[in-house]
Amino acid sequence: MKADWSKILSVATLIMMFVSLYLIFIYAPIEKTMGVVQKIFYVHVSTAWTGFLAFFVVFVSSIIFLRNGSRLADIVAYASAEIGVLFTSLTLITGPMWARSFWGKWWDWSEPRLVTALILWFIYLGYLILHRSAGEDVRRARFTSVFGIIAFINVPIVFLSVRWYRASHPPLLVFEPGGLDPSMKVAFFVTLFAFTLLYLWLLNLGTRAGKVQDELRTLKEGL
């Protein structure tokens, strides 16, 4: 039944992506002060949230793995970390694009969400490198799980410290999205939903790929 799930998810993702594109570019009005560039907000915030969700899944799967040694939990953790890094990369690409036209500069160290995303990107890139260099056996799963837990516990602390850092180093311009137009809200939540579906679909694909790799390894050992 797994293949069916994948098909349903892929079709649903495709449809929702088109719906969100329509909502972003045709349905939602153009923002008065920021202009067309504001449209990047929908994708930027959605990828940021989905990336964060992915890292949370890594955390939960890591705990499950350490508790009962489930092979599936380890595969899901790695697949989710990969997707999380991908989405965080997108966040870090769209962020400066938006900031450039809004603040007049690519990067501002006093924007805690963006800085946290950058630090998360480094942490989970480290996770992927660790996974790659920790060999093939069950120890790798234990190592990455331990790191996955330590890393995620750090996330709120990183966010807090970066926000306090802003308080002691006042920014030039504080960004707060404030009240969104209702039609913009619709466009935003639909986009968020579309990216969450995309995440689930990619996670499904990644998990299947991980399982196939496992089977391949068992076959090779059998030979």
């Binding site: 480290g126 660790l130 234990r142 306090w164 850092y165």
Partner: protein, 206 residues
């Protein structure tokens, strides 16, 4: 054991000192107070990696860890032993470097409040050593070993470095408030002594 410790101490100490001297030239000989606090912590963090990297590699090479695991002691005792060893080592390096930095950079403010400074050095070093110890136990078992530890450790140390630098700069020149940073560091230390303690079993399990 004795010899190896001495070698390691010398390397870490010289590394920290060299880093500070390079900072001095990088900032054209005039480090403002806020930069001095930052330079100290960068030097100590980087130097700590040298020590942390060695803390499990030797055991790995000579099979000592198996011996330790066979010992009829709680495995978390190994974690605490390694953690305290790394901590004491790092503090020792810091304690020896600071008087020299005071002389080289003509900064009397470094030694003006020795107790406060010792306090923040201990708080910051606990965080570096505790997270560093469990990560080094992990990376000692990987193909890339020494290369991997700083990549995993540094991003996790960012809150610690921000807090430690803010407090150290405050000790050098009282300005603003540091209550929240002190709380952050204390909470960080408590969490990251307990969490590796719980997880260490999974890392050394054969």
């Amino acid at each position: 054991m004795e010899l190896r410790t001495k070698e390691l101490f010398n390397s870490m100490f010289l590394f920290a000192l060299l880093a500070l001297i390079i900072f001095n030239f990088a900032f054209a000989g005039s480090m403002p107070k806020s930069v001095l606090a930052g330079a100290l912590w960068v030097a100590f963090l980087f130097a700590s990696v040298l020590g942390l990297n060695r803390s499990f590699v030797k055991e790995q090479d000579k099979g000592c860890l198996e011996g330790l695991l066979l010992a009829p002691a709680d495995r978390s005792a190994i974690y605490f032993g390694k953690f305290l060893g790394n901590l004491v080592f790092l503090l020792f390096v810091e304690a020896v470097s600071l008087p020299l930095v005071t002389v080289f950079f003509n900064r009397t403010e470094i030694v003006r409040h020795p107790l406060e400074l010792a306090g923040i050095l201990i708080l910051g070093s606990i965080a570096i050593s505790s997270v560093g110890t469990i990560l080094s136990a992990i990376t000692a078992n990987t193909k890339t070993r020494e290369l991997l530890l700083p990549i995993l450790l540094f991003p996790l140390m960012i809150p610690v470095i921000i807090g430690a630098v803010e407090i150290t700069a405050y000790i050098f020149e009282p300005k603003g408030t540091i209550g929240q940073w002190l709380r952050l560091l204390v909470v960080y230390d408590i969490i990251f002594v307990l969490v590796p303690y719980i997880l260490f079993d999974y890392v050394v399990e054969e």
